[in-house]
């Protein structure tokens, strides 16, 4: 699958623009995703994530800018791009009148696999995504997680080198979300490049090598999850004490400045991990500090947006 001429960048885009009527949806997006990595587009609803995926996957045209996917130009060689990509959109793209297996065989045929190879790949994917039992049932009987897995299996039957996943875990229960994360990691381990969109900072943090933050059609920050989180001052542990004396003592023990307000609380910067909490608690124990209440505040998308745009993200942009 790899050729000498293939660029180490699986996706590159420069200055992508798109408007629907007088509404500017993408206002000059540039991004680069290295081959064999996960690139996450993070942003609230209405930020332009899906539009970016739709353009990069050849579904709709851009009004301006250019992009290469898998080394092929989007505008000049859309069919070569299509042959290299797989897309699993936000909304289910399975044929509801065909069984799980028939859906996969349809995809095998459209990927021009021969009959034997198609059957083999379909059976393999059903097995891998735990759908063998449901292979002969129609999708309306599937759970949300199963439907998402079938959708992804259909995308994978053509062995795409670049995979677009638009909000792959939105609406899934925590367990199905974990399963989907496992699958995504395996795909990258197998050599694929993934561009995924998400509304969850946690998900980008968990999966992505590179994250770009999208807001109102512009990229407002880009970097590794660590780099992004460093931009965000939101992560801390809040310790509450019974009286000012204990607070002072604790502040000295932990080496932070004590601020005397009515709340009698200390804010200790923390990434919220179990390890750092355990270390903090051990420290407090060693010093014999009596803590009244403890709460962990991890930075979330709201903190990121607050930190980067100076204003909370617009709630009305969300759709149920």
């Amino acid at each position: 699958m790899t050729s000498a001429s293939s660029s180490p960048l699986a996706i590159t885009a420069t200055g992508l623009r798109k408007s629907f009527g007088d509404k500017v949806v993408l206002d000059g997006i540039s991004l680069n995703a290295a081959a064999g990595t996960i690139f996450a587009l993070l942003g609230p609803n209405g930020a332009g994530k899906t539009t970016t995926v739709n353009i990069l996957s050849t579904l709709i045209g851009a009004d301006g800018g250019e992009a290469q996917v898998a080394g092929r130009d989007l505008a000049r060689e859309p069919d070569a791009v299509r042959a290299a990509i797989g897309v699993t959109g936000q909304f289910s793209a399975v044929d509801k009148l065909l069984t799980g297996q028939e859906n996969l065989l349809l995809m095998a045929d459209l990927n021009h696999l021969d009959r034997r190879e198609g059957r083999r790949r379909a059976a393999e994917l059903l097995e891998r995504f735990d759908l063998t039992q449901a292979a002969n049932q129609l999708p309306p009987t599937y759970s949300g997680g199963m439907l998402r897995r079938l959708d992804l299996a259909m995308t994978l039957i053509g062995d795409p080198r670049v995979i677009f996943l638009d909000e792959p875990t939105t609406g899934l229960d925590p367990r199905s979300r974990r399963t989907m994360w496992e699958i995504i990691r395996e795909l990258v381990a197998g050599g694929a490049t993934i561009l995924l969109t998400t509304q969850y900072l946690e998900e980008a943090d968990e999966l992505a090598d590179q994250v770009a933050l999208l807001d109102h059609g512009r990229l407002i920050a880009e970097g590794t999850p660590e780099e992004l989180k460093r931009l965000v001052p939101g992560g801390h542990v809040r310790l509450q004490f019974a009286d000012a004396g204990t607070l002072d003592y604790a502040a000295k023990a932990l080496g932070v400045a004590a601020s005397h307000d009515e709340a009698l609380a200390l804010q200790i910067p923390s990434d919220g991990s179990v390890r750092s909490l355990r270390a903090l608690l051990a420290r407090l124990d060693d010093e014999g500090v009596e803590v009244g209440e403890l709460s962990v505040h991890t930075p979330d998308l709201d903190d990121v947006f607050l930190a980067l745009t100076g204003q909370p993200r617009e709630k009305e942009a969300e759709t149920p």
Partner: protein, 272 residues
């Protein structure tokens, strides 16, 4: 790599998909049978004697009314198939899977070709069943094997000619309500020489009835199955069929290759 080379293979795959749909969800294809069979029973059975008596006045009573009516019912059956085509295309375009097809390296035309060929096959089956029903209530054609073959060819061409614009209508419609307007097509043969001769109609309607495309098609079919004079109706019928098929095909193709974001634009405008 050109996707053009896969046009036939992809079309066959899509055809198989559409036939599987029809097998799994036969309501829409059996729906194709309801209108022509009901009209056959109403005009042929209930009003047959009265209409036949009236017919005798204008055409000299040389022809049995069920025989006169059946070619029109067959044409109505061909037109009824347009509804299920339009609906299934519309349903497909609003479902997520079409976006998957659009991002795959397949022949773009194959999606529509699959629909159209699937519909043509289903409609031809419906036509055969309608002819069977007509034979049961007394339809007695006197066609030779060659005439039957010619009639079959004409009907296949007619079905194809009606299916392309039906597919386009399904693409153009915003929802199933819009897509089902096409069923009016099935009633158009009545406003021709289908049920009664145009000579018996009021002047304005008569002009339309004599010049609309279904009239030469019905007259040709009548001639092939019953031996009535065809004249230049065959040539006019073929010209109409080829013309309608071509325009329908070009219209459908233009609608399908439209950038889907033009639809999003409508959605966006609607939301604001």
């Amino acid at each position: 790599m050109s996707t053009g080379g896969y046009a036939v293979r992809d079309s066959v795959t899509m055809l198989r998909r559409n036939l599987l749909h029809a097998k799994r969800y036969p309501v829409s294809s059996t729906g194709t049978l309801v209108v022509p069979i009901l009209l056959l029973l109403a005009f042929g059975g209930l009003f047959g004697n009265a209409l036949g008596a009236g017919l005798g006045v204008t055409s000299g009573g040389a022809i049995d009314y069920t025989d006169y009516l059946t070619p029109a019912i067959i044409v109505i059956a061909a037109a009824s198939g347009a509804l299920s085509t339009s609906l299934s295309v519309n349903l497909d375009m609003t479902a997520g899977i079409i976006n998957r097809f659009r991002t795959m390296a397949i022949s773009r035309a194959s999606v529509l070709t699959g629909h159209v060929l699937g519909s043509v096959i289903q409609t031809i089956i419906a036509i055969v069943l309608v002819i069977g029903a007509a034979l049961l209530i007394g339809f007695r054609p006197n066609a030779t094997a060659v005439e039957w073959l010619a009639a079959a060819g004409l009907l296949a061409l007619l079905t194809l000619a009606l299916t392309w614009p039906a597919a386009a209508a399904g693409l153009a419609a915003k929802g199933p309500e819009g897509a089902s307007n096409i069923q009016l097509l099935a009633f158009l043969p009545i406003l021709g020489s289908g049920v009664v001769p145009p000579e018996s109609m009021p002047a304005g309607v008569r002009w339309f009835a004599e010049h609309q495309p279904f009239t030469p098609i019905i007259e040709t079919l009548r001639g092939l199955l019953l031996g009535t004079p065809i004249g230049n109706n065959a040539v006019i019928a073929l010209a109409w069929c080829i013309g309608i098929a071509l325009i329908g095909y070009l219209w459908a193709r233009a609608l399908f290759s439209r950038d889907p974001s033009s639809n999003f634009r409508e959605v966006f405008t609607a939301l604001r």
